[in-house]
């Protein structure tokens, strides 16, 4: 059976478990560890009809570049087993229009905004950061380094430790130090830990793991690639084990660096895998296409899953799977239980976790 923690205001709506879902990305405190993923929530407005965007941790906006971008030709998408392939080409309005039209909407709604930026050169990332440094309404900047470097025959920044570090340090020195700079890494590398080290050394506050992995589908009727862009980024539950592995490896190597886990998260238990592997937060991406209210649902399900496993605080579960088996769970969450006792309702310290781990 599962431990009952009680229900109350901490989690939010009635019926939500009373779990402290606060988390930290550097100095930034988020009331929920669940965010949208860049490119899967546009710039927020479109999801507003489906759930209250202020109730999740943050909206991560679609990667914006300096100039307006038309994106690529169609077809831009192919469904794959438990996933999809996309090749959009970063269609977007450009940074000026974004700052003028999209950011104010998020601020007026009180939505925490993580702005994702993308560039074709180290300088372009710097110019984007120059524009953003004066925008007070930004919670964090996520640097999408899975872009080809125009100056180097299209070598992807994220696949080269030095290039990746150059981009991140250029952004970091411009963005005010109190605003986290998050580097989003590509799984398409031989040593993700090496890239992680490199960007952290360059000043990244946190890491988003992972971006899509490169894939391809061939249409057996037309006998041609299914996407106009030939190759595309594979996303969705199909890549979740790769993402969990990346989070695990990087957390093991860099336990003090906050990680945002991304990759096919569509339920609270999916998110929990990432948390246990070492993520301090998660992003819900492709599964928002399946269920537009997925980010909010994942938050609620995650709170419930944590409660069922005896955790009183979200942060107690971060990296939990790295702990040796023999370590008793009850010691680990003792603080949280003590807090619950002080709150004086619902806690059941007699059965902190017992068999709760059976999910």
């Amino acid at each position: 059976m599962t431990a009952v923690i009680g229900y109350g205001p901490v989690g939010g709506e009635p019926g939500e478990p009373r779990i402290d879902m606060k988390t930290w990305i550097g100095d930034w405190v988020l009331p929920s560890p669940v965010m949208t993923a860049s490119g899967c929530s546009a710039n927020g407005k479109e999801l507003d009809a489906f759930f209250d965007l202020t109730r999740i941790g943050a909206v991560v906006t679609k990667s914006v570049m300096l100039a307006p971008r038309s994106g690529r030709a169609t077809p831009r998408m192919a469904e794959t087993p438990s996933g999809m392939l996309n090749s959009i080409g970063l269609q977007g309005p450009g940074i000026e229009s974004f700052v003028e039209n999209d950011l104010p909407w998020l601020r007026e709604r009180g939505v925490r905004a993580v702005v994702s930026i993308a560039g074709g050169s180290v300088e372009e990332y710097g110019k984007l950061a120059q524009v953003l440094r004066y925008c007070e309404e930004i919670s964090a900047v996520e640097v999408n380094i899975s872009c080809p470097n125009v100056a180097d025959r299209g070598q992807v920044f994220a696949c080269d430790a030095k290039l990746a570090a150059d981009v991140v340090s250029n952004v970091r020195r411009i963005i005010p130090s109190e605003i986290p700079v998050i580097a989003k890494l590509s799984p398409d590398v031989t040593d993700i830990v090496g890239i992680a080290y490199s960007v952290v050394k360059a000043g990244a506050t946190a890491l988003s793991l992972i971006n899509t992995t490169l894939g391809m589908v061939i249409d057996t009727e037309t006998l041609r690639p299914a996407l106009a862009g030939v190759t595309g980024g594979l996303s969705g539950p199909a890549i979740r084990p790769i993402a969990v592995r990346c989070v695990w490896q990087v957390h093991e190597a860099l336990p003090d660096i906050p990680i945002i886990g991304i990759g096919g998260i569509g339920s609270g238990l999916d998110a929990l895998q990432f948390i246990l592997a070492g993520a301090s937060a998660v992003q819900v991406g492709t599964m928002t296409f399946n269920d537009p209210s997925a980010p909010q649902r994942v938050h609620i399900e995650l709170a419930r899953a944590l409660a069922e496993r005896g955790f009183g605080r979200f942060t107690d579960a971060i990296g939990y799977a790295h702990r040796p088996h023999e370590e008793p769970l009850s010691d680990f969450v003792a603080d949280a239980w003590a807090e619950d006792d002080r709150a004086g309702e619902g806690a059941d310290p007699a059965r902190p976790l017992s068999s709760g781990a059976a999910g």
Partner: protein, 283 residues
């Protein structure tokens, strides 16, 4: 604003080559206007099919013994639609809708020709009803490759002042395509607006024909969509704006209904060089 609801299957019936699915969809029928569509999640619990399937809304009943219900028409093309065809009464389905920008209706009681290819006619009957309520004359042109691929011939006959059927093999009506008969109809009836829904090639030809004969056209496009709600940017096509600038617009949120004279039909599937934000060497 769209809503996301759990609907209950009231039935799936065959309609020639197609299927018609009737669902309860609390809150959606009341908001539906002709041309709106819904996104249906397919495959059930634990499925590997993560993308919703989008279908234009065929009919709505905003009250009845089951509350509001809606009908969608579909053809079995792949695993997702095969799953839908196998739904049983009382099965539960997750529905998002109404989505998209519906057909614009004329303010004046003018003559309208409704042109559809295959089951592209699905949203046209609701449109015909609303046009008639406004005092508009409604004439139907339904086309398909063969007779069994037509959808809603009897409904069209009942609602329209005239119905013209074309089939490419001549199995019903006139042999040929909808655009073979459309010019004569527009000219003879002095129609002001042409509404069209069907395959991209047909829409392109209908839009050109309408423009050549002095009629406005409103075309509902069919593009592959991942999300249907405007966040994924996969369903884009080049459309000319009021400012004369071509942009890659999302058919799910800026469409699916576009003015026929604004879509760059010949360039659908590409990014024309003069598109806003188009790069010199491609993205």
């Amino acid at each position: 604003m769209p809503v996301q609801v759990r609907g209950e299957v009231l039935g799936v019936r065959r309609a020639g080559q197609y299927h018609v699915l009737t669902l309860t969809a609390p809150g959606i029928p009341e908001l539906t206007r002709p041309g709106h569509f819904v996104g249906i999640s397919v495959g059930g619990e634990g499925t590997g099919m993560i993308l919703r399937r989008s279908f234009s809304i065929h009919k709505v009943a905003d009250r009845g013994p089951y509350g509001g219900t809606l009908d969608i028409a579909f053809a079995v093309h792949g695993k997702g639609t095969a799953w839908m065809a196998g739904l049983d009464r009382h099965d539960s389905v997750d529905i998002v809708g109404p989505l998209g920008r519906p057909f614009a209706l004329p303010r004046e009681p003018v003559g309208c020709v409704l042109v559809a290819g295959g089951y592209g006619s699905a949203p046209m009957f609701m449109l015909a009803e609303q046009l008639r309520e406004r005092g508009c004359r409604v004439d139907f042109v339904l086309g398909a490759s063969t007779e069994d691929k037509l959808f809603g011939v009897l409904d069209a006959k009942r609602m329209a002042s005239t119905l013209t059927v074309t089939t490419e093999d001549g199995s019903l009506g006139e042999k040929g395509r909808v655009t073979d008969v459309l010019p004569e109809i527009i000219e003879r009836l002095g129609s002001s607006v042409v509404y069209a829904c069907g395959p991209m090639g047909m829409l392109a030809a209908v839009a050109d024909t309408a423009a050549a004969h002095g009629a406005y056209s409103q075309c509902a496009v069919e593009e592959a969509m991942a999300c249907g709600i405007g966040v994924c940017m996969t369903c884009v096509l080049p459309v000319i704006g009021d400012d004369g600038v071509t942009r890659m617009l999302r058919s799910c949120i800026d469409g699916p209904v576009f003015r026929g004279d604004r879509v760059r039909w010949a360039d659908v599937g590409t990014v024309p060089a003069d598109t806003w934000g188009a790069p010199a060497g491609g993205h």
